[in-house]
């Protein structure tokens, strides 16, 4: 059963899906003409020839309360957009119940519903009307929409003369200004120039901070983690994982990495032999494993997470006092650091036969990016290279504990604020109104920054 209430009833969830499934019938030739239907009337096997079933969504249950923010992740074709279309009403579920409570504004396709022959201003009213606002409500918002879209005098010419950027800006401006009870965002922020993307992101953040409810579909996992309360991982139309964004993103990334490794495993590893490897071979590095804190092999990490690097070796003869070392490089070639056992004053008396050296990083200081590891073993005086694997091992880092961006590493530094004498009075609480406001504003910021 499908229930849609446009005027929001307080105290009820904004959106509730129960066991929603969606089936598409794939026709070999999509267009089903009268001729084909006529032929099928006389075809005894007509039931079988109807084309193939494809379940785009299977048994999805979901509840979104006011003020919540849900992120949906998943590979292409996993049913994310189908789910959003079912929520907006463009598609109808094949089975299951759906209840919406309040006005839903979709940012699925910006500027859908614009008419080329009408001017920007006329289209603002038309589009607002399609999204469910009346003329008076739109008139109040028109000026701020025009401001936001940065259209200036272009607002009174037909939109068919607009550049694609102007078109999209106007579309976003209208959608975000309709103050929906539930805002659906589907990967639309990948359009427009960088400045406008930031502006879009800012207004979505603001919408969130003001208590707005949001469903966000994105491949930008960092955004999902920084904005959403909860995340859902869709895979082939099923919910694979649901919960806190960091957990869901991590298990999603592990799956992605596993898939990549399986694909890579089909080919021989070219990096170990040839140009990327040299040395006398008296001690050989037989394998380098990048692991998580529980010593399980892993190739994706969050900053602040635990990382272990297991270097396996085989010594063909007894070698006294060798030094094992690692090199960390960013994908772009920047050498970040090169720890080794000598710097760390780990004395290895000798090696013979097989064994393992472990380098443990309790809290990874690297920021988002792809990194490469080199591994080497040399003699005591660094004069004879036994084996060297140059940038042969790869791992990825995603945003995690640290909210830092820019650059490669986080220094884990601490900030302090020491105002001069002029500002001293504002520091004393309760003395002035300004102080109270400042504290409230501060609290607001810390609230909106918190991932949960």
């Amino acid at each position: 059963m499908i229930v849609r209430v446009e005027d929001r009833v307080p105290g009820r969830p904004l959106l509730e899906l129960r066991h929603v499934s969606k089936r598409f019938v794939l026709h070999k030739d999509y267009q089903q003409g009268v001729q084909e239907t006529f032929v099928r009337l006389f075809d005894p096997r007509r039931r079988q020839s109807r084309g193939q079933d494809f379940w785009s969504l299977q048994d999805i249950s979901l509840r979104v309360e006011p003020g919540e923010c849900l992120g949906i992740i998943g590979p292409n074709g996993s049913g994310k957009s189908t789910l959003l279309k079912i929520i907006t009403g463009i598609l109808e579920p094949t089975s299951g119940d759906l209840a919406t409570n309040g006005r839903i504004s979709p940012l699925l396709e910006l500027g859908a519903g614009f008419h080329g022959d009408l001017t920007g201003r006329e289209n603002i009213y038309l589009n607002g009307c399609i999204l469910g606002l009346n003329r008076k409500e739109m008139a109040r918002r028109a000026e701020s929409i025009i401001d936001f879209a940065e259209l200036g005098e272009f607002i009174d010419i037909p939109v068919k003369h607009y550049s694609s950027g102007m078109y999209v800006r106007l579309g976003f401006a209208v959608a975000i200004h309709t103050d929906p009870d539930l805002l659906l965002v589907d990967e639309v922020l990948a359009v427009g120039d960088a400045t406008f993307q930031h502006k879009c992101m800012d207004s979505i953040q603001k919408f969130r901070a003001q208590g707005g409810t949001l469903i966000l579909v994105s491949h930008d996992l960092g955004t999902i983690q920084s904005i959403c309360h909860q995340a859902m991982w869709l895979d082939h139309g099923c919910v694979r994982d649901f919960g806190s964004p960091t957990d869901v993103v991590m298990s999603y990334l592990n799956e992605v990495a596993r898939g990549e490794q399986e694909n890579a495993g089909a080919q021989p590893l070219p990096t170990i032999e040839g140009a990327n490897r040299w040395g006398t071979g008296k001690v050989q590095i037989t394998g380098v494993e990048i692991c998580d804190g529980a010593s399980r092999p892993c190739s994706t990490f969050v900053d602040g997470g635990t990382m272990e690097i297991h270097v396996k070796y085989r010594a063909n003869e007894r070698i006294e006092d060798p030094i094992f070392g690692l090199g960390f490089h960013h994908q772009n070639g920047t050498h970040i650091c090169g720890p080794n056992t000598k710097f760390a004053r780990l004395y290895i008396p000798f090696v013979s036969g097989e064994g393992k050296v472990v380098y443990r990083i309790p809290s990874l200081p690297l920021l988002e990016g792809t990194y490469l590891i080199s591994a080497a073993v040399v003699n005591r005086d660094d004069t004879e290279m036994f084996d060297y694997h140059d940038r042969a091992y790869k791992f990825r880092v995603y945003p995690g504990v640290s909210s830092e961006r820019f650059g490669l590493v986080t220094m884990r530094g601490e900030w302090a604020f020491e105002p001069g004498a002029d500002a001293q009075f504002a520091q004393q609480p309760g003395k002035s109104r300004a102080a109270g406001a400042a504290v409230a504003a501060d609290r607001q910021i810390s609230k909106s920054r918190r991932p949960y």
Binding site: Q31, I90, P106, L108, A112, G113, D117, E122, L126, N134
Partner: protein, 269 residues
């Protein structure tokens, strides 16, 4: 169905906007703009008058241009509203696939924009009638009832054909021919009285005169418009009620069909 109607009424402002959009788009980039709503039937009237006066059948009907104009205006409304209504979902497919709103709004606004055109064309009618010394009927106030009934009938057809057209694009092709046949089957440039009341078709005798009114609501509408505007009298109440019943039945059936099927428009288009 009632909840659907309520949802539709909430969106009446959207209908208004779409009608305005359609009218604006129609006359953009044309010099005479809205005047074409008036000039088009006048032009057709002139052409038909010349052709049928020379051919001979025109001279049998008094004040032939006025008689013709009523037929043409009525037919134009019927034809263009049904045709553009039938194509409304396919034409606005991108909108249907991207945004949700009660789907019936699209054919409704197309039909209503054609209604506006029809009303404008009716304005032309009165000076023409004055030119031919016709008299105004005291029953002129019943005209809106006929217009409303015809609009209901057209809306019903637009609902039916636009829905079918989503699933089978052939509908518009069939309609093209069908509307041409309908044009000749409606008493636009001839009088129903000139039709034989007994006609033998494969041995069955048919009352073509009666059948025309029973089977063709467009003929009924034309007859009612002419009763008021051409003959200056009134139409029979029973005649009106029967036509109104057919129109309402068409409307209700069309609306039922559309709301039943509209759920799958998003994936069919």
């Amino acid at each position: 169905m009632l909840t659907n109607v309520r949802a539709l009424l909430r969106r009446r402002e959207l209908i208004y906007h779409l009608v305005v959009r359609e009218l604006k788009a129609r006359y953009k980039n044309s010099l005479l703009g809205v005047l074409w709503s008036l000039l088009n039937p006048l032009g057709m009237m002139v052409v038909f008058t010349i052709v049928f006066t020379i051919q001979g059948s025109g001279s049998q009907i008094a004040r032939f241009p006025v008689y013709l104009l009523i037929g043409i205006v009525t037919w134009n409304f019927h034809n263009s509203a049904v045709m553009s209504g039938a194509g409304s979902f396919v034409l606005s497919g991108s909108l249907v696939k991207k945004v949700y709103f009660p789907r019936e709004i699209l054919p409704i606004s197309t039909v209503l924009s054609n209604l506006v055109n029809f009303l404008l064309a009716l304005i032309v009618f009165f000076p023409i009638m004055a030119l031919f010394h016709g008299k105004l009927s005291p029953w002129l106030w019943t005209l809106p009832a006929v217009i409303l009934t015809q609009t209901c009938f057209i809306l019903g057809l637009a609902f039916i054909f636009s829905t079918l057209n989503v699933f089978y694009r052939d509908v518009v092709m069939v309609l093209d021919v069908g509307m041409l046949a309908w044009f000749f089957l409606s008493p636009i440039f001839y009088s129903v009285d000139s039709l034989p009341s007994v006609y033998n078709l494969f041995g069955v005798s048919l009352d073509v005169h009666r059948l025309m009114y029973i089977l063709n609501p467009v003929a009924s509408f034309m007859s009612m418009y002419r009763d008021i505007l051409y003959y200056g009298g009134s139409f029979g109440l029973d005649f009106f009620l029967r036509t109104a019943f057919i129109s309402l039945a068409t409307l209700v059936f069309g609306y039922w069909l559309l709301t039943r099927a509209s759920g799958s428009f998003g994936e069919q288009l």
